[in-house]
Amino acid sequence: MDPIFLWTLIFVVLTFSLYIYIAYRSRVSDTEGFYVAGHGVPAIANGAAVGADWMSAASFISLAGIVAFSGYGGSVFLMGWTGGYVLLALLLAPYLRKFGKYTVPDFVGDRYSETARLVAAIAAIFVSLTYVAGQMRGVGIVFSRFLGLGIVGGVILGMVVVFFYAVLGGMKGITWTQVAQYSVLIVAYLIPAVAIAFTLSGNPIPQIGFGEIAQELNGVQADLGFAEYTAAFTDPSRNLLNMILITAALMIGTAGLPHVIVRFYTTKTVRDARASAFWALFFIALLYTTAPAIAVFAKSNFIDDVNNVAVDQLPQWVSDWQDAELITINDKNGDGIITYSPGEADDPESANEITPDRDIMVLANPQIAGLPAPVVGLVAAGGLAAALSTASGLMLVISSSVAHDFYYKRLRPDASEDQQLRVARITMGFAILVAGYFGVNPPGFVAQVVAFAFGLAAATFFPVIVLGIFWKRTNAAGATAGMAVGLIFTATYIFATVPADAGALFFGAPRPFDITPEGIGTIGAILNFIVTITVSKMTAPPPQKMMDLIEEVRYPGEAPVTRAH
């Protein structure tokens, strides 16, 4: 039997059994346990859970590949997806924990109005649904490449496992599985990185060793006709303005993503909420500082392995990924030798003869570097951990938005605990089915959809939550108008300017100042701030009771102000 297949199978069975065991141990029987793990998660554990929740298939599988093929331009993701945690820790986490409810729409609804809650709930569901589609896809890729199960079989198996721990244990089951999933994914990410760093640079710490290799890569790329790897602003979609806008949109979007924010409701105290924000970014930074090193190592190894190599002498990993249809080879000049240069392999105008899908870089990396089969199997299990943990966190947001914000808060305020819990579990099951459907039939525009999720989160949630805490004068009219303007502006720009070939809803209109749709959330957020402030000032201030509530949220351990009144 193929050793890679065998080891992947062993690691997948081991980790999946662990997740199911944890799920069984953390069953819940009330809504507080189901939505926020009973507000009882220790700071470090919550940090690890945030890490797993946050680091999706995109972080684990795609990030290093994206950086490898865009060099400095890839920094927007590295800074954007970590810098958001500074905003989250300083501006949101402690206050939302003190506020102490179940969902993000809860805050918006209680602080502003029921209409605002409705807008927030719809946005939360939409953002989470678009995001979850990409996760199940990651599960499918891993299964089809390493276990020959086919994408459908892989997605169904992943759904069954998530169903088990998410429906049974809600947030509590999800949290403790995420802690385990973080451990699996970080070990799986670091082991090959250390091994490759040591082989290539002689230094086992990838973060230190990749500087020299990046310098060599600069030379290699220049010889092949590419821009230097570390040079800034070489691509128009990553010019100065776009670098700033995209980085800011990803940062603000990160701080506005419901599935990340709700994790800070789960800690015991405000003190723990702050501490867990630190642990979260610390755990995330372990992977995010390693990714750019892997990117450089993988790119160097890749060029070494394929450029100027005879077609019939390409290494085994190339044909493995060719079978999975994730590498395109096209010997255009018929000389029997692969030439790697700018452009696409299937474009007759370009001299390039090999185009890898950039998503394969992390998964193929151990094999490219000639690491033993157990490491390859471990990386596959890590990719699954990353995808499943994020998917389950997103499903909880969908389930709680429907069961808590719609069913309980709007339809049936008199529903009993048991009824609420039943609705939450049913929606969870339904969300898993929808995610599975998207995993098997992915929308053709996943990349645009992710830009959409961040842009919307940045342009709707972040401004009204921050203003709601730091400016007591913010009122319902202002927040509703701000969210609506941010949402409509951002969505319109994305639909109008994403190239028409991405789908029927997109029009590929010319872009003012070359601003890419990925960065438009920043402008949307600024508009939201301006509109919320202006409209709030023009209308009546919020009631005194609300001002007291905000006052109370600012002082962590103080008894609620409302009691004194």
Partner: protein
């Protein structure tokens, strides 16, 4: 806590926040984007410095910023007797 203490606590919090967010801004948008080309002329351990800030330095700075925030806010809460250490805490 009386009214002036409340105000003092909140102002200290806002000052700390502003200082930390300024560093956050300077390192990410300043060093890593606006000044990247100038900093890239300096090379340390093989890394052009601007590139290093964009892919390593900024992330490390973010972690340190949150660590400082956690540490200072825990102390501030204790100083004003508003620390939230859970239901068993006597201050509550």
């Amino acid at each position: 806590m009386d009214e002036s203490q409340r105000e003092q606590y909140w102002r200290t919090n806002l000052r700390l926040m502003t200082a930390l967010l300024s560093v956050w801004f300077i390192v990410s948008f300043g060093f890593s984007i606006l000044l990247v080309e100038q900093l890239n002329k300096i090379v340390v351990l093989g890394f052009p410095l601007g590139f290093w800030f964009a892919q390593q330095g900024s992330i490390i700075t973010f972690v340190i910023l949150i660590a400082i925030y956690v540490w200072r806010m825990d102390r501030l809460d204790d100083d004003y007797g508003v620390s939230d250490r859970g239901p068993t805490d006597v201050n509550r």
